[in-house]
């Protein structure tokens, strides 16, 4: 036998072995898609989100209790956050090529709507988004395949109203970023604020990425109000509006939506925004503390945006599979609300083994997780928000609502 033939033979034997090994592995592996904007406007926070979801899956695997020793394997895909076609193609690949049992994602509201309509519903795959907050997703035709561990901005509008009213302010101007998120958020805030007896003098959009916002602020100032509500992005037009409003003396008090939370705001504005109030999704309690511990041990930053929600989204998927006793896509959907809500034993973050065990024994659980998960209506988080105030150049937590 020449050396060439021998090599060829060795290679084919090795190949056959590999093939057999992968066939065995496949029998025990359950794939879960993780589709987030690893490139694009959210690329700075998505690694933490993806890492948190994988942390939950790893915890499930380490327990050894999941569906008779099967293991969950995360498969990442890129939603890009803004490019609907790319996101849909990536999700399609997850479902058809990778044959995932469920999808954790997507992150931004626009692409999430696209994936729900074009991939999740037609293929009957459960999707759990950790961060899509558009009110439009509440009424989407999803055949109950879509869930989210982030609350709708409709809820945030109500919470922000409560916060502003608690300072006895009843006349405000609103400036929102000119996209689905800003428009939806602004509509829900204006409705809530007016229902609470307040007056909204103007609700005007601002475009992101401009150099100069003096014209926008001029219109806001002309309308007047005791306080300016800014529903935008902290690294974009939102901070431009605030800077221009401070410079021209148009407003000296601000209330901010969740997109405006970030250290860069304080770095940019210094002490001219002392006393600014705002809300951001966030939870307190044992679950959130346990998650923070586990995330830190895994080298993740638990205070980064939507990490807890991501952990919960992945954990819910695993628990629903356990409850259903199979990885059948429709069975997962039907088990989702049962594991997320009462009745049952409360399960907090980093305690997934306990939940898996109870479900294995045929019991009931109420998943609380890192963010006090409670799925309401068509399967979205009720939502807890952290109210903060900027004092001495720091975000200070006032209370949770």
């Amino acid at each position: 036998m020449s050396s060439r033939t021998r090599n060829a033979l060795a290679a084919s034997v090795a190949g056959a072995l590999l093939f057999a090994a992968s066939a065995v592995a496949q029998a025990q592996e359950v794939k879960v898609g993780i589709i987030l904007g690893f490139t694009g406007p959210l690329e700075s926070i998505t690694p933490g989100m993806g890492g948190s979801a994988e942390l939950a899956l790893k915890e499930v695997n380490d327990s050894g209790l999941f569906l008779d020793g099967q293991t969950l394997v995360p498969v990442r895909a890129d939603s890009t956050c803004i490019d609907n076609a790319a996101a849909t193609a990536a999700a399609e690949r997850l479902v058809t090529t990778d044959n995932v049992a469920a999808i954790m994602g997507a992150d931004c509201s626009g692409v999430t709507i696209g994936i729900v309509n074009n991939v999740a519903v037609p293929n009957g795959v459960v999707m759990v988004s950790p961060s899509a907050t558009s009110p439009a997703l509440t009424d989407i035709e999803d055949n109950d395949y879509f869930f989210r561990t982030a609350p709708s901005d409709a809820r945030q509008g109500e919470v922000l109203t409560e916060v502003i009213r608690s300072y006895d302010i009843d006349s405000v101007a609103v400036s929102y970023t000119n996209n689905d998120y800003g428009k939806g958020f602004s509509d829900s805030f204006v409705a809530a604020f007016e229902a609470a007896g307040g007056t909204v003098t103007i609700a005007a959009p601002h475009d992101d990425g401009k150099g100069d916002y003096s014209a926008e602020v001029g219109a806001l100032a002309a309308a007047g109000g005791d306080l300016l509500v800014v529903l935008g992005y902290v690294d974009q037009g939102g901070v431009g509006i605030i800077r221009s409003a401070v410079d021209t003396g148009a407003f000296d008090r601000f209330a901010l939506g969740d997109g405006m939370y970030g250290q860069s705001l304080i770095d940019a504005m210094g002490d001219s925004i002392e006393g600014t109030i705002g809300v951001i999704p966030g939870a307190e309690g044992e679950g959130s503390a346990k998650f923070a511990e586990a995330a830190k041990a895994a080298g993740l930053d638990p205070t980064s945006s939507y990490t807890g929600e991501s952990y919960d989204a992945a954990a819910l998927i695993a628990l629903a599979m356990q409850k259903a006793g199979s990885t059948d896509r429709t069975a997962i959907r039907d088990a989702m609300l049962e594991v997320a809500n009462a009745p049952g034993e409360q399960i907090i973050a980093a305690d997934l083994a306990k939940g898996l065990q109870i479900l294995k024994d045929g019991g009931d659980i109420d998943y609380v997780g890192a963010t006090n998960v409670e799925l309401i209506g068509p399967g979205e988080a009720a939502g807890t928000y952290r109210e903060y105030i900027i004092e001495n150049g720091e975000f200070k937590t006032v209370q949770f609502r």
């Binding site: 150099g211 100069d212 003096s214």
Partner: protein, 334 residues
């Protein structure tokens, strides 16, 4: 009386002062465009990105200076870095002329070929700027922020309304006046300036009388790049630097140059202020001003929503080209 003063202060704070600064920035940009058009006879679409390039170098030098601990006290450090930015932009403009436009000049290509080549140059410059400094917002204004603060003004005058004059606005106006005066002196009285005007008026006659065309072209690029950098740095100090915004500035700048009469330096300045004040006055909501004057307006009294700001430049451009293609100061017809 107090109502009238308050109305005046509101108007100055939200319309006049922003318009003045914006107008000066556009006018400086339009001067560069109009000079290139007058002498090289093509519309240079790369002007906005030349502004971005010069500003980028200024920003990088500013950061370096701040890193070295060198600042100008109350004034922005960028003013110290500005000469370096100008040198960088001039070098880039001359390099581009050597590599691109000189070839077409030798070929005696039609004007439209130059314009298309400048579009290519625009994309290349755009890419270079994004590659080096990135596509994001950069703020590089340091030192004092205000000359007059709203609170200070209110306390001093006792009026209900406040007026803010930011330091970059004051610097913009002062620098613009100095630069324009120097430019006009240069064009009117210096030998090279006269040569440039002669070349612009009648190329053949100028060549016959012994004017060196290469020198005229070179000086034109030097002045255009210097003006572009100054305009860009002033805009960036006043607002913020972002490559895409500078690309978008091309529209109001061209509108200004054409409104004033392209090829006419004085027209570029007038056009800059016409465009800037049209944008600001038409999108401002006059409710507060009218209230102080004793009216009780129902709505905001806003002619156009602020999103139409750029559309105004377009409308002005189209109107001028339709009604008076030579512009205010009888420039050339495009």
């Amino acid at each position: 009386m107090e109502g009238f003063l308050n109305a005046l202060v509101v108007f100055a704070n939200f319309v006049f002062i922003p318009g003045l600064a914006y107008g000066a920035q556009i006018a400086l940009g339009a001067l560069g465009v109009t000079l290139v058009f007058g002498i090289l006879r093509f519309s240079n679409f790369a002007h906005g990105d030349l502004m971005a390039f010069g500003t980028m170098i200024t920003i990088l030098v500013t950061w370096w200076l701040i890193g070295m601990g060198v600042t100008l006290g109350p004034l922005p450090t960028a003013l110290l870095a500005l000469p370096v930015g100008i040198i960088g932009a001039v070098a880039m403009a001359l390099l581009i002329d050597r590599l691109v436009f000189r070839f077409y000049r030798k070929q005696k290509s039609a004007g439209i070929v130059f314009v298309m080549a400048s579009v290519g140059v625009m994309f290349v410059l755009n890419g270079i700027v994004r590659l080096i400094i990135g596509p994001n917002d950069q703020r590089f204004a340091d030192g004092e922020r205000f000359l007059v603060t709203v609170r200070g003004f209110r306390e001093y005058t006792g009026l209900a309304e406040g007026l803010a004059i930011r330091l970059p606005v004051a610097i913009t106006v002062i620098v613009a006046v100095i630069v324009v005066a120097a430019l006009f002196w240069f064009l009117q009285y210096s030998r090279t300036g006269k040569a440039m005007r002669a070349y612009s008026d009648n190329e053949d006659l100028a060549l016959l009388s012994g004017i060196n065309p290469d020198r005229v072209v070179m000086v034109t690029w030097i002045i255009a790049a210097a003006l572009a950098t100054i305009a860009g740095v002033l805009y960036g100090l006043d607002k913020s630097f972002r490559p895409f915004t500078y690309f978008q500035l091309l529209l109001p700048i061209f509108a200004a140059a054409i409104v004033g009469g392209i090829g006419q330096p004085l027209g570029a300045i007038a056009g800059g202020f016409v465009v800037a004040f049209s944008e600001v006055t038409l999108t401002y909501a006059y409710k507060r001003v009218l209230e102080y004057l004793g009216f009780q307006p129902e709505g905001l009294v806003q002619l156009l929503s602020t999103e139409y700001k750029f559309a105004i430049s377009f409308v002005i451009l189209v109107l001028v080209l339709l009604i008076r293609p030579t512009g205010i100061f009888k420039g050339r017809v495009l």
